[in-house]
Amino acid sequence: MSLIMLSSPHAHGGDSIRMIMLTVILALVPAAGMSVYLFGWMAVLLIVTCMLTALMTEAICLKWMGRPVSTLLDNSAALTGLFLALTLPAATPWWMAVLGSVFAIVLGKQLYGGLGYNIFNPALSARVILLISFPLNMTTWIMPMSASMGSIEPVINLYDFTTCATLFFAGPGALQLGLDAISMASPLGYIKTEATLGVPVAEALDAYGYSYLDAFLGFEAGSTGETSALALLIGGIFLLARHSITWHIPFSYIVTVLLLAGLFNALNPDQFATPMFHLFAGGLILCAFFMATDPVSSPVTPLGQVVFGVGCGVITWSIRTWGGYPEGAMFAVLLMNCAVPLIDHYFRPRVYGHKRRNES
């Protein structure tokens, strides 16, 4: 300790893990607010459950491993809970939310040795475990309130606390409803199914009642926090402005998806959706600005981050277009997470005074 204390520098910029995590939580406020507007009490219940469970699990883990429980104050567990909630469908039952949060903290983070040591984004890995374990629940999207979805009227009132609490804690059976009665397909899922029937993309979207404006604002089926591109972009720009993230990952990620989508859409518009559709669909913006930029599981060097972003973009678009799942953003980020050590090794910047990048 005393040795460390004597080493320069003797000044510090004042950044802390706590502030970094808090900034991201603040940046998610617009998206969280939008999710409450769209999904009413369902969103509130989901977010609160996930965050509380994540915090409690983290506290237990810390206690059990003999680390100071005050580490909780670094806000990283709260952020993981919030992340998870925003990626879950609004109709997720309470126990799945709890399970997911426990997974995120225990399997996604503490098993690797705690904050800083995990390879994968904890929230995303939990989300994928849930998707694999409960594929039906994880792809059932309830209709958002205030959706300007043509003639479809929401079956249940999400602004009514009792209804939502019943749905959340007791399941749709308690409301004498089938799950499918309150749900609808997401645009990505819809065009995927229609594509297998040979329906051209544009026609399918017409039949769906798709509008770019709705998708941009968030009046669309999808996970709790990922539908509103607008709200997420506000948060993303806040992060960029606060210098919490750099442009490298979101920019290269989104541009890659846009380029690929644009290229293929130009070649065959019947089979491939437009770049704009891809941009606003699913979890792309959430993943690009918030998930892929998770410091722990992304590369540290600027060039490495660009490579990482491009990789995420290629995988996202490929899964959406050719894969078995309608959405590929989460898988893309997780897959690229595996590649981070390699990327960090091979895409180090050129060191001052050296001719080339060191290969070693």
Partner: protein, 527 residues
Amino acid sequence: MPAMVRKLAQRLGMLQHSFVGGVHPNMHKLTADVAIEECDIAPVHVLPMKQHIGEICSPLVAVGDLVLRGQKIARSEGYLSVPVHAPTSGRVVKIEEHTIPHPSGMGLPSIFIESDGDDKSDESIAPISDWINTDPTQLRERARKCGLAGLGGAVFPTFIKLVQDKRFPIETVILNGIECEPYLTNDHRLMLEHAEEILEGMAIIMHMVGADSGIIAVEDNKQNAADSMQQALDARSDMDGVVVHVLPTRYPQGSEKQLIYTLTGREVPAGKLPMHIGVLSQNIGTTKALFDAVMLGKPLTERTVTVSGDALAKPSNLLVRLGTPVRSLFARQGLDDFSGIQIVHGGPMMGERLKNPDFPVVKSSTGLLAMSLQAMKAAHTVEQPCIRCGHCSEACPISLVPNLLADQCRSDQFEKAAQYDLFDCIECGACSYVCPSNIPLVHYFRYGKGQLALQRREDSFAEASRKRSETRDARIEREKAEKAARRSQVRKTHAPKTDEAKAETDAETKTGGEAGVADSKATESKD
């Protein structure tokens, strides 16, 4: 700005070059408007025998000797070294070890001079006012004789850099007036108060190395210093090749390699010196000292020091004789009680932290800071795990990946760290400064460099002893063959065997003995 865009813009001449990374610490230049005050002469001065990078000096005086100001009191032993001079007239009272400004609190043999109050100077060194018609080698000898070493803190013997080498002609002389460390303002004040002398010093340097062009670099947080230099420049007709450049304030702009890149767009290749790309940079204080040495015949016996810090009521810039006890300087500025106060020698980014103020002002003393415990705590709180945020990579002016290097040093993978260019780290501290987890990255790098140097020394020792044992094996083989030859001639068998055994034990004791020496060396360098 994206690096690619910036490079393109630079190519098109739309932008100045600028080094990568860097940070913007709070500058705390409390003393920017405080004129340099001359300090009273202390009753006793302590002159450590090594105040430069290189070999230690040996005393030329004995206890009881009377000395004059500027008299050489210690002689350099070896090339990479400069002598030490008496800072005032008086008597040598003792020669013994005394603490120097080093974080380990180590000491060095030092000469103690009790001032007689007369401050009489030794006039034996004549001014060379006609330097323009003087042979550069003679001026170089003057710089060495006067004990000049880089006063920016690195204290590299100045004369070594002031050389004309036909293979590497110097085209550009850079006068480094950046002073990018927080708190420090002594170069700033020198530029305001002694612009003419500094400029004359620069002219001498350009004459010595045969350069036609020069750049005076000043950060834009001291525009008045740049103006002052420009004014002095305008008043001269013989320095047409010199321009003043005002650069945006960013730490570590003043670091030699970064400054050279910013000004010329060229990098000093790894393992090379600025002179290899035709550049020479000198610090403001050193240039002024060169002026004093050449034009006034004055050896280096004083320097300007910024005495500051958040715990000091009366910060100032002082002209101080070398060897002055630091405690008395703080006392002069109204600080006597050091409880809860931390002392930093140099600037907060690269300076050394010391336990107490019981050390003398030396040639490397750019600043003396009294910092409150709170201010220091911000920099030295408990280390948290690395969250791989990449802020350190972004801040590194050398484009290293500090978090990877720290990992490697921490897990003793020193060779790997060396492959990741650990030795290119300039220890500027920008990475530690931005790290949200408060990881003492620079500390790990120093540790890693130290361990690696040690390991390499051991390796070369192992190599040497391997060679030795090979020669021994060869000799034994040869002897055996000879014996066998003798045996076949003389049919007596017992004598040779003992010989052989003896040779073996001899060789072993030798190896063992030297291993012991190497071990003790190892511990030495760890301290």
